[in-house]
Symmetry: C2
Subunit: 251 residues, 2 copies
């Protein structure tokens, strides 16, 4: 059995998230179906993590085991010819037997996109979060640095999530504005993320940028772990899984 | 009667082009319907020019006359609340009585987008032209300069177009590649364009970038006016009307 690693890009708009489920089309199911057409094998495709309904990916990683003899590098071409055009296998290669897309991951990079213009964009309705009011970048940047490091992120996790620990490490947060344009990106790079964590961080930073929330709220949210101290969960359709890192030197 | 000028952005994917027609939904019709809901007036919306099926706009300009007393600047907000979310009125303002979106135009800027990666993009399937092979930017840039100036562009016009003259002036062509990315843009800035002219120019330059056509073909195409001397018409879904200029100093 060979272990094949896929680098996957998808527009999440028309899917009910990554994970296979009943009565709804998922990205995992579409790719598993394409692998079945190619190899006649019912594989279980393991991703670095689930993505929610509407969330996109430029660098999702998944792996599966196969008896097929198709050259690993050709798998991407073959699958792309079988997949819908909003799911693209950017790269396929054979990896070591013990590579596991989820457990081997050392870090992840997410991007949250904000379209900051009075009128929304005709092109980005499913791709970026429209924020009408003027956003203060420096306030967002300054506040974002309070989140960097190892903290208890319970206040930045969707209520009801069952996890062993709320402790996570954020390696870095970078906030950029497109030159001469309206797009603001929040890049969050960390060891791993709780459920809705990047969306809650983004929602909190947007509120700070709009002057609706104080920087000290972040300190209180981390200290108390109270979900109410953090901002709203920003919409899913503006979130992108950019990269999954498997090296031990993530920075 | 006030004369209202609209600055319009649209994702052309789901429309049969700008112009109102029977049995197909057009951008003009959608906006005229929204104006009717707002003012109860059946107006005739005049654009700077038609755009084809699938073509997008970031800076289409149109004007209409109205008896309505709604403040001109508020018209954009009111129309956006009535329009589908792939058509956005970016700005509305009152202009002089003799302003005519088409006849007053002094120049237009178009952009053609190429996605130059082996695998296509999951996000740009309706937004950019996928070119798999390696494109030589310098060859495209050098060849593009042969088109700048006043020439007979008959070879760069769709067959059967009825026009008084095939002479047009191209002020400038700029070809850029996204840093660290796969997107190439061809910006074409001219006095006015023949039917399919920017798409044929883009198709010709892509063939030159791929080494499938020689630079001298452009010289022959201009000299002979033969459509066959120019390249294929590049797909519509990668073309954007960026800006319409109304000043007399377009450069």
């Amino acid at each position: 059995m060979r272990n094949i690693k896929l680098l996957i890009e998808y527009d999440g708009t028309h899917y009910h998230g990554w994970q296979r489920q009943l009565n709804a089309i998922s990205i995992q199911e579409e790719i598993e179906k394409a692998i079945y057409k190619l190899t006649k094998e019912k594989v279980n495709l393991t991703a670095s993590g689930r993505t929610d309904v509407g969330v996109h990916a430029l660098g999702q990683v998944a792996n599966f085991y196969t008896e097929s003899t198709i050259p690993a590098e050709r798998v991407s071409y073959a699958l792309n010819s079988l997949l819908p055009d909003d799911i693209i296998i950017v790269e396929s290669k054979e990896v070591e037997q013990d590579f596991h897309a989820r457990y081997s991951a050392q870090g992840k990079k997410y991007r949250y996109l904000i379209y900051n213009r009075i009128q929304p964009s005709a092109f980005l309705r499913n791709r970026a979060c429209h924020v009408r009011g003027r956003v203060e970048l420096e306030a967002m940047r300054h506040a974002s640095q309070l989140l960097v490091g190892t903290h208890n992120f319970k206040a930045f996790c969707a209520a009801g999530a069952v996890v062993k620990s709320f402790e996570r490490e954020i390696y870095d947060i970078n906030i950029c504005k497109e030159e001469g344009g309206y797009m603001i990106s929040i890049d969050v790079f960390g060891s791993g993320f709780l459920y809705n964590m990047v969306r809650i961080i983004s929602g909190t930073l947007i509120e700070i940028g709009l002057g609706k929330r104080k920087e000290t709220d972040i300190i209180e949210a981390i200290e108390t772990g109270e979900r109410g101290k953090a901002g709203k969960t920003a919409p899913a359709h503006a979130l992108y899984l950019m990269e999954v890192l498997y090296s031990k030197q993530p920075l």
